[in-house]
């Protein structure tokens, strides 16, 4: 089977090579049947890679440990869902999944554009197949997912317990979909430049893909933050780690592109900016993919030297060099049709929005790659931490939220004072009202954090501005069609999905930032040791360690992640002010897993694997109470049980000693380390994220057909005009 899988990879390479040749030959010689053949080879590529993925998945689900990948990341006792998802937890498997998703989206993009922009699509085909070939080449030459060991080991290592959570199952596919979708606009953008057809047609063709890339990437980032917060033992959702930043960068340029694209459609401006953003997004996506696998940065995700580093650097160098060359050599065609008339106009606000986003990208790139930069410039490797990132990204984020309230409303071309008064009176009033409310001491302590205060006011401004737009739109529609308000609202959104979907996205982002500002500025934390019966005060809550818990064997593991032993505590949370109402009973625990190290003995190996913290949290509208425990499993008494068990018990009876250990822990519980957090408004981060996803889906959704025909006719007229000018 492994041989067959590998043969599929080789076949995929051949198909790619043919497809690249056919598309390029077809478009250069004008013989479009070759270009069509090139397009069909993308479908074939997708088919072949799908077969390869199927072969590997069957190996996982069938516990075929001859496959190295399966042996390294799965085991007989790994729960079924995690077995299926283990394919992307290894280097080789994740490359295969990347190539597979790339092939699917490429096929979709080419299928949807099969009747238009044939020359652009031909170049794009060659580029997309080039990416596919690159990733398949990496697998064939360096990281073969179908490598086998003979004889096959009887049992696999198992999936890292830290990954055995549902959020971790969806996060990689979302992120990979986002990354691979980013390369589609890149391919079509380069294709447009190569074919010298830079009118609005190619943008219209890939607009939905750019939006989908943005959506998947954003969802992937949010899921990663959610996983970090609700499953890891540190209580945070964002650490400015290299890999988090790597995913954020193409998302930021994607956001900039989605905005400046509107300016190009409406006023034919910012064409160079647009095409550069598209190329940058794709390049940053490839750089993000490379960062995790290369070991060039000493973060928690980087692992020593890696042979993949060199091919990736070559690819990224080619992308950057090629992009710069293409944009510079075609800059005459990318001349703006109009000029910026006034700094107080919608075009100007969108341009400012883009500048802020690019500024953010620069800050994050600088901070993330700083270890390399400082080593190159000073010979000494140094790194910057979260406080440095926060210092520069927070003010920029404030400006962004403010702009999201100004941009949709300010007039095109030039805003007049009367215009401004009409549009901004209510939002500014709302912002001032919020400021007054917060300054007057509700809720307490807000004035000590001016940046959070500023963010709340900006968010209020943005939400009020958008709310005003919805109100006015509904009112106009009611006047026109005499519908009741709810129906008018729905009809309003249906007829103008892009606009109102976009507004909803802005509201979601404002809500998200409110949550981020509140939870990062006004958090109460306590890290301390508690014995049963003791309690601690966190924020306005009293947390009491009632009694210890110990559960044995995977069957009773409430987290269903297959731990052998789980030690934890029962915590009672009550309000610290009278009346001391009971808020929640929380049971955080730490799971101890089997390990694969031979040196640990029959008992030690049952619990010697990497422990994983299972946090317990009380979610509330205004705050989360988050608790984590680090039980002490190495007291002299407990260690003695393990050592004696290792010496006297055969492997199959080791679990008896673990049972003794659990009983001993319950009878004489040692003090345990607790991490207690009260974070305000965290829930609204996830709610904001959901609103953003909802708004984005509304914006991408195809419009009802009558509107679509009208819009298509209008944009055809524009593109003809564009061609005439080009």
């Amino acid at each position: 089977m492994a041989g067959f899988g590998f043969a599929c990879l080789v076949l995929a390479l051949v198909v790619c090579a043919y497809g690249i040749w056919a598309s390029l030959y077809g478009v250069r010689s004008g013989r479009m049947e070759y270009a069509d053949s090139g397009r069909r080879s993308v479908y074939a590529f997708a088919g072949v890679i799908s077969v390869a993925v199927l072969v590997l998945e069957i190996a996982f689900l069938g516990n075929d440990f001859a496959f190295n990948t399966v042996a390294d990341t799965s085991s007989r006792t790994t729960p079924g869902l995690y077995k299926a998802a283990a394919i992307w937890s290894s280097q080789e498997g994740s490359l295969l999944v990347w190539a597979w998703l790339m092939s699917l989206w490429s096929s979709l993009a080419l299928f949807l554009t099969r009747k238009r922009i044939r020359d652009v699509a031909a170049y794009a085909t060659a580029i997309m197949l080039g990416f596919g070939a690159f990733f398949v080449f990496l697998m064939v030459a360096y990281a073969n997912p179908f490598a086998t060991t003979d004889p096959a080991p009887p049992e696999g290592v198992g999936l890292d317990p830290l990954l055995r959570f549902p959020t971790m199952m969806i996060h990689p596919p979302m992120l990979y979909s986002g990354y691979t979708l980013c390369t589609i606009p890149l391919a079509f953008g380069m294709g447009a430049l190569l074919a010298r057809r830079v009118d609005a047609e190619w943008i219209r063709a890939i607009r939905r893909f750019a939006f989908a890339a943005w959506l998947f990437l954003g969802a992937g980032i949010m899921l990663g933050a959610l996983w970090s917060y609700s499953e890891l033992g540190w209580g945070g959702y964002w650490g400015w780690d290299a890999v988090e930043n790597a995913a954020l960068l193409p998302w930021l340029t994607g956001t900039a592109f989605l905005h400046s694209l509107m300016i190009q459609e409406k006023r034919g401006m910012l064409k160079v900016w647009n095409v550069s953003l598209v190329l940058a997004t794709g390049t940053l996506a490839i750089m993000g993919t490379f960062l995790v696998r290369s070991g060039i940065l000493d973060s928690i995700h980087a692992f020593g030297g890696h042979t993949l580093g060199v091919p990736f650097v070559i690819l990224i160098g080619a992308l950057i060099g090629g992009s710069i060359y293409l944009v510079v050599s075609r800059r005459e065609m990318l001349r703006s049709e109009h000029r910026l008339d006034s700094l107080l106009s919608r075009e100007s606000m969108f341009l400012l929005n883009n500048l802020v986003l690019v500024g953010l990208v620069f800050v994050i790139i600088w901070g993330t790659y700083f270890p390399l930069i400082s080593e190159a410039l000073t010979g000494r490797e140094a790194s910057v931490g979260p406080p440095w990132f926060d210092r520069y990204t927070v003010p920029l984020a404030l400006v962004l939220v403010l702009l999201s309230g100004i941009g949709p409303v300010i007039a095109w071309r030039r805003a007049t004072l009367a215009n401004a008064r009409r549009n901004f009176l209510v939002p500014i009033a709302c912002a001032l009202l919020t400021l007054v409310l917060l300054l007057s001491g509700f809720p307490p302590g807000v004035t000590s954090k001016p940046l959070a205060l500023a963010m709340f006011c900006c968010a209020a401004f943005a939400i009020a501005s958008i709310g005003q737009e919805f109100f006015r739109g509904t009112r106009a529609r009611r006047a026109m069609a005499a519908e009741p308000a709810p129906l008018a609202l729905v009809a309003l959104v249906r007829r103008n999905r892009r606009r109102y979907g976009g507004y909803i996205v802005h509201v979601g982002m404002a809500v998200l930032f409110i949550g981020v500002a509140a939870s990062s500025s006004f958090q109460h934390t306590k890290e301390l040791q508690l014995s049963p019966g003791q309690s601690a005060r966190v924020g306005s809550y009293e947390v009491r360690y009632v009694r210890p818990t110990a559960t044995l064997t995977p069957k009773f593991d409430t987290a269903h992640t297959g731990s052998t032993l789980s030690l934890g505590a029962v915590l009672e949370v009550t309000e610290s002010r009278a009346p001391a109402r009971h808020v929640a009973t929380l049971e955080p625990s730490e799971g101890f897993y089997s390990s694969d190290e031979a040196s640990q003995g029959s008992v030690g190996s049952l619990i010697g694997g990497q422990p994983v913290s299972h946090i317990a949290m009380n979610v509330g509208v205004t705050r989360n109470v988050w608790t984590a425990i680090e039980p002490d499993i190495e007291t002299p008494a407990l260690k003695r049980i393990v050592t004696v068990g290792d010496k006297t018990l055969p492997p199959e009876d080791g679990i008896v000693a673990v049972a003794y250990l659990a009983r001993e822990y319950l009878k004489h519980p040692p003090p345990a380390e607790f991490n207690l957090l009260v974070s305000p408004l965290v829930m609204w981060i996830w709610v904001g994220g959901l609103i953003v996803v909802g708004g984005a889906l509304i914006a991408i959704w195809p419009a009802p057909s009558a509107v679509r025909r009208r819009v298509a006719a209008r944009s055809r007229a524009r593109s003809v005009g564009g061609l005439a000018r080009a």
Partner: protein
């Protein structure tokens, strides 16, 4: 032209210079805007770059640390946890970090969150300061790397201080 002057008057009041700006021909105005924007970008970028060098903490191996550490400055120590060196006393965790080659080791005391993957033989990054002739780890600065070649490991487990 009239509207142009109106905007100038409306937003500048009686300021002569702003009225001069408003009455400039458009291409000259665009050049001025471009220069101002680029200038602002250069100033901000320089501020950013300058502060990054002063705010950064250098990453050192144990042998480098022993050679060069000065009291009172924070350094990022990277290396492997020495087998048999891990002792916990209450809230303080004592352990030693050695070079990848295993030649030199630095012993330190650390308080704060200990990430789940931490154990002997694993690679760690911890911010330390030299105090007297001992090394003290900064609270919650301990990061442990995942042991295998490539796994989708979690983001850093240190809290934002």
């Amino acid at each position: 032209m009239r509207r142009l002057a109106g905007v100038g008057a409306g937003c500048a009041g009686a300021s002569g210079r702003l009225r001069y700006f408003a009455a400039m021909n458009p291409s000259r105005k665009r050049t001025v805007r471009l220069v101002v924007a680029l200038g602002a970008a250069v100033v901000l970028a320089s501020a950013l770059i300058y502060t990054s060098f002063s705010a950064a903490s250098p990453a050192l191996t144990p042998s480098q640390l022993l050679r060069e550490a000065q009291p009172g400055r924070a350094y990022q120590l990277t290396g492997t946890v020495v087998k048999g060196s891990v002792h916990r006393e209450g809230a303080v965790l004592d352990f030693a970090v050695a070079d990848r080659t295993g030649s030199t080791a630095v012993a330190l005391s650390y308080t704060g969150t200990v990430p789940d993957p931490f154990r002997e033989g694993r690679e760690v990054i911890v911010t330390v300061q030299k105090q007297g002739d001992r090394y003290v780890g900064e609270q919650n600065s301990l990061i442990t790397k995942c042991p295998s070649k490539y796994k989708t490991a979690p983001p850093s487990e240190n809290q934002n201080s």
